[in-house]
């Protein structure tokens, strides 16, 4: 069955077969396999089509750096994920996977035509090709490109999974559990420090899993690994997290760890979260991220069957899979020789080792020859053959002049390449840690850290097992010591460790025309060496520009396998040293991370706080339709069965004007301002004069920013000489309190004033309409409700329905109105009592929409709707609210800046459409002449617009340049379909004499 499985090898459970499908075809793997290892065990290399050229692609690597082998995974309704790397996806019983980016099938793909037009699709192709005609971009080019490009298909159903999150603190966080990370975690753990060890793979070990033929302290590597893992598991102060990616390293040792909990399970446990995002604050961090193998850049280096040599070694030793039957190794580094020998030992025919170096260690050459491998040192690879799988590699000797000689073709089904190893500095880079360029080894290494962090092992440029253990132990001990624990680094005795060396090369030398070579640098974004050189020729000299122009390193793998090759080629083309060209910045997340993991519990009803008033439950029971207002949910309107919104609002408006309407105004922001200097504080904050406001009286207050523009407004009651009950807009409460606190704490700390938010302490029931007084009279104690004793704009304290109240006589509708403040816990009871009693007046609950209509009919503004942060009091027609005699208040000085006094400012006006049935769109622009040429001169916009039931026609408020002086003139409002003519009017449409108000 599994043609390429070697049962004597690997850590997979050969006794536990696992069945899965790929493109509908059934395969068998082993428990412990990744999808990549399981497919390779079945001889499958062809996994997908490439992004741009639709070239057949296979498996390049064996880890999270994989750029090629991306698949779609599905397991039941809603559970589909595109672009999953086959190299990290663990197989489970029933796993279903598909290849991506092809039509009609993986083996026959129409899109592969792009490959034939390779010359057209070079760097900057989209920018150059689709420039003209301009109008074609939206309609033709972009839809076409979007259809043709891209990788997997996005899921279209809501994600049924849940995601968890957790905060944690520790003394030492170790990232990576290869030899360096294990040694670090052991030292820190033994010291008693609280340690978290995190590794993205399913089990601990890192490179030890791929290279078992070494010994540590007299034990075989895997035996030592087991002992180390057991010791860590037994330490209560150590938390080991496998299948967990340290995806981001943020300020002050704060790291995000994404733990995958259920993706590998055969059956999903009911209710278990799929992933958990850990947010960890560590005192000390040890980064032991290891290194990533570099591909070599030569023509046809992307063909299925061409893969990294280290990956082949991993598939053999860790998974018990031989990646082919006849391999050729192409390398510039010793490590590929070891891979070749491992493969030869299990019977893979290694036809040749082609090493670009002319001189290689005698030991390796002897070893290779002893295994019957032809050694071609000082040779280059110049091409591969085969359509869906490599069938041969073309190799040439390189002369002393650096030129490639006569070609030879070697048949093979696998090409194993190695261009050296790149230390993984990703997390270190997230911290803005400085990277130092190692010229000799052509690699960036972690330099001076900006955080409490240490790098160890291959990720620090220290290759080899002995070095990794030594450096890891030292880093772990030092980290523990810096976190306040006693620790000493252990010594490790290592046997069988061969210290590999190698050289870094750019494109391999070739005897062919390099401009026709498809020598890939970035496999995922289909960027070739030629593209990078072209970008440089076209003038892109900084790596950040080259990256964006060619898209190298911009795919989901962030160029893990391609960045250094790309940089080396760019640096050669620019003729500047690599550090001068620079490395692009690595950013979180290290590997693609689900939105679910970031969102955690914060989805659905937990996405945002929903604030509800004490009366909200009544509204819900009585059929209210709700709307969100800042974080509040507010009753929008109360439709009766069969009513449209328009009908409901019209009925609510009529009822309020004719008899009695009832409105939950509890969301009004409320601030209690108390103290001997309360009036002085009010004088300085608000535009109005407060000193002479008598206790028991209300005043409309206007709050500006220091820039002179309207910030907030509200009715303010003076309860006594030293106590004000301030109301703010519903959305502005927190902002206003913060602004007041700022001035009080930092500008006027001498004032004796205390500010308290009381928004949620008071429920507010607004009663409006001619019968408002009659309704409440029987329920009120201790307050004379007569117009003489409690005129419009006054407040009294007493009792209503037996509970304490601050009773405001105030109106936001133009009708006789009261706002009944009662402690929140009584809000609903008082509401229900008044509602029951109000039936005799056909009392009608109304929502925010009716409130908006009624206030607009009276020309009362809503800050934030009719104002937008650029309106002065005068612009809004509120000049009267300014205490002219006051020497100063917040914003006063700005009101006399020259621009604030200029004649062309936009001013708030009313609009009456010529057609009374037309309700203008809020936000619509206003012009003088609708037939003028585009772009039209816009002179203002509509801020509020409604059907007015009271007037039997539409009304609108608008801001128009110099609008107040233009009353009676006609303007036009272009809307979809036609421009509507409207007359500029005053802002008060109903009862300008306020007769109803003062009833």
């Amino acid at each position: 069955m599994s043609t390429h499985r070697i049962s004597a090898k690997g850590r997979v459970d050969h006794g536990k077969p696992v069945r899965f499908t790929f493109n509908g075809q059934r395969f068998e793997g082993r428990k412990g396999d990744t999808l990549a290892s399981a497919l390779l065990a079945n001889g499958v290399h062809l996994i997908g089509r490439s992004f741009k050229y639709h070239r057949p692609r296979g498996i390049l690597s064996s880890g999270s750096e994989e750029p090629n082998a991306l698949v779609g995974v599905s397991r039941g309704v809603g559970r589909s994920e595109p672009n999953t790397r086959a190299t990290v996806l663990e197989v489970f019983e029933g796993l279903s996977t598909v290849s991506q980016n092809h039509w009609p099938s993986l083996k026959r793909d129409v899109g592969a035509i792009n490959d034939a037009f390779y010359m057209l699709f070079s760097a900057g192709f989209y920018y150059k090709t689709f420039m003209w005609p301009k109008s074609f971009w939206n309609k033709v080019y972009e839809p076409f490109i979007r259809g043709a490009a891209g990788l997997g298909k996005s899921p279209s159903l809501p994600d049924p999974d849940t995601y968890a999150s957790r905060y944690a603190h520790c003394d030492v966080l170790v990232v990576g559990s290869g030899p360096a990370g294990l040694a670090a975690a052991l030292e820190a753990g033994r010291s008693g420090a609280k340690v978290i060890l995190v590794d993205e793979q399913a089990e601990l070990g890192g490179s030890l899993l791929s290279e078992p033929d070494t010994g540590i302290d007299g034990q075989p590597a895997w035996q030592w690994l087991k002992a180390a893992s057991d010791e860590l598991a037994a330490l209560k102060n150590v938390t080991v997290l496998t299948r967990t990616t340290a995806m981001g390293y943020y300020h002050e040792n704060f790291l995000g760890l994404c733990q995958r909990l259920t993706d590998h399970l055969d059956t999903l446990p009911e209710g278990a979260p799929r992933e958990r995002m850990w947010r960890v604050r560590a005192k000390q961090v040890v980064l032991a991220q290891g290194s990533i193998e570099k591909p070599l850049v030569f023509d046809g280096n992307d063909r299925p069957g061409v893969m990294l040599a280290g990956a082949a070694r991993t598939y053999l030793n860790r998974y018990g899979v031989k990646v082919g039957n006849r391999a050729v190794v192409v390398t510039s580094h010793d490590s590929a020789w070891l891979a070749a020998i491992d493969l030869a030992e299990v019977g893979v025919k290694v036809a040749a080792i082609v090493d670009i170096r002319s001189s290689v260690s005698d030991h390796l050459v002897r070893l290779a020859r002893a295994h019957g491998i032809e050694v071609l040192t000082g040779w280059t690879a110049t091409g591969t053959r085969g359509r869906l799988r490599v069938s041969a590699v073309r190799v040439n000797p390189v002369g002393t002049n650096g030129k490639a000689g006569r070609a030879r073709v070697i048949a093979c089904d696998t090409v194993l390449m190695c261009g050296g190893w790149t230390p993984s500095v990703h997390l270190f880079s997230h911290t803005k840690g400085k990277l130092d360029w190692d010229e000799e080894r052509q690699m960036f290494l972690p330099g001076a850290p900006t955080e409490e962090t240490r790098c160890a092992g291959a990720g620090n440029g220290t290759f080899g097992l002995a070095g990794a253990l030594r450096e890891g132990a030292a880093a772990g001990a030092e980290a523990a010591a810096d976190a306040g624990f006693k620790a000493k680094a252990s010594d490790y005795r290592v046997e069988g460790d061969f210290e590999c060396t190698g050289i870094s090369v750019r494109e391999l030398p070739t005897d062919r025309n390099p401009s026709s070579a498809k020598a890939f640098v970035d496999f995922q974004n289909d960027v070739t060496a030629k593209d990078i050189r072209l970008a440089v020729r076209e003038g892109f000299l900084s790596i950040e520009h080259i990256k964006r122009y060619t898209t190298t390193g911009m795919a989901t793998d962030q160029g893990k396998t391609s960045n250094i090759n790309g940089l080396a080629i760019a640096s050669d083309a620019v003729k500047r040293p690599a550090p001068a060209v620079g490395l692009t910045t690595f950013r979180p997340p290290y590997t693609p991370t689900t939105f679910g993991a970031f969102a955690g519990y914060n989805r659905g009803s937990l996405f945002e706080v929903t604030r509800k008033t004490a009366i909200d439950g009544w509204a819900e029971e009585n059929g209210a339709v709700f709307e969100p207002v800042s974080l509040w949910r507010r009753a929008w309107y109360f439709p009766r069965p069969g009513e449209t919104m328009h009908q409901a609002v019209a009925r609510e408006c009529r009822a309020t004007r004719q008899s009695l309407g009832m409105f939950d105004a509890s969301t009004l922001g409320k601030i209690e301002i108390v103290g001997p200097d309360a009036a002085e504080f009010m004088n300085r904050m608000y535009t109005n004069a407060w000193s002479k406001l008598a206790p028991g009286r209300l005043r409309y207050g206007l709050l500006l920013g220091e820039d002179g523009f309207i910030r907030d407004d509200g009715v303010i009651g003076r309860l006594s000489a030293d106590r004000f009950h301030v109301t703010t807009t519903s959305g502005g409460a927190a902002r206003v309190l913060a602004m007041m606190e700022d001035y009080l704490q930092t500008e006027w700390p001498d004032l004796k004033v205390w500010l308290t938010s009381t928004t949620e302490q008071w429920a507010v029931i607004a009663l409006n309409g001619p019968n408002a007084r009659k309704l409440i009279e029987p329920f009120v104690e201790g307050i004379d409700l007569s117009d003489a004793a409690l005129p419009h704009m006054s407040v009294a304290e007493g009792r209503i329905c037996g509970v304490p109240t601050r009773l405001f006589r105030v109106s936001f509708t133009g009708e006789l109105g009261f706002e009944i403040n009662v402690p929140s816990r009584y809000g609903r009871a008082v509401w229900e009592t008044l509602y029951e009693a109000g039936r005799q007046y056909d009392i009608t609950p109304y929502g925010t929409e009716t409130m908006h209509v009624l206030r607009a009919e009276k020309g009362y503004i809503v800050v934030g709707q009719d104002t937008d942060g650029t309106l002065t009091p005068d612009d809004a027609g509120l000049g009267w609210a300014i205490g002219k005699a006051k020497p100063d208040f917040v914003g006063k000085r700005s009101l006399t800046r020259s621009d604030m006094l200029s004649p062309g400012r936009k001013q708030l006006v009313g609009l009456l459409t010529r057609d009374p049935a037309t309700v203008l769109e809020e936000g619509a622009q206003i012009v003088d002449d609708p037939s003028q040429a585009l772009p039209m001169k816009m002179i203002g916009h509509v801020t509020s617009s409604y059907w007015s039931e009271a007037l039997g026609r539409s009304i609108a408020l608008a801001v128009i340049e110099g609008g107040r002086a233009r009353q009676g003139q006609t303007i036009h409002v272009p809307m979809p379909g036609k421009a509507h003519a409207a007359e500029i009017t005053g802002t008060v449409f109903l009862d300008p004499e306020n007769k109803r108000l003062n009833a």
Binding site: H251, E252, K432, T450, E741, T746, D888, R893, S898
Partner: protein
């Protein structure tokens, strides 16, 4: 996520407990009406925006609610020190000492 020390609570807490509040040591003039348009514009809008050491205000909004001042490096983002509102701008020596 940064850690910020509230000088009133005398504890270090994560950034999410705090709100930024603009540049520090910009006192509101005693009598704004005495200022020219130019001077008032400078007070309102012109900020130092340095590369490096920045004196700025923060508020421990989800803690004690107090406004305080901080010295932060705008390149590294890191705080050198925090101090109570009303205290004078710390000297370079004090900042250096706090950093070390």
């Amino acid at each position: 996520m940064l850690l910020i020390r509230c000088p009133y609570c005398a504890v270090e807490r994560p950034e999410v407990e705090f709100a930024y509040a603009g540049e520090a040591h910009i006192a509101r003039p005693q009598d704004p009406s005495a200022l020219s348009d130019e001077q008032w514009k400078d007070h309102l809008f012109i900020r130092s925006n340095p590369r490096g050491t920045h004196f700025e205000r923060w508020r421990h909004i989800h803690g004690c609610g107090r406004f305080f001042n901080a010295v932060r490096d705008t390149v590294s983002d890191k705080f050198a020190m925090t101090y109570k509102a009303g205290l004078p701008r710390p000297s370079e020596a004090e900042i250096g000492k706090a950093r070390s």
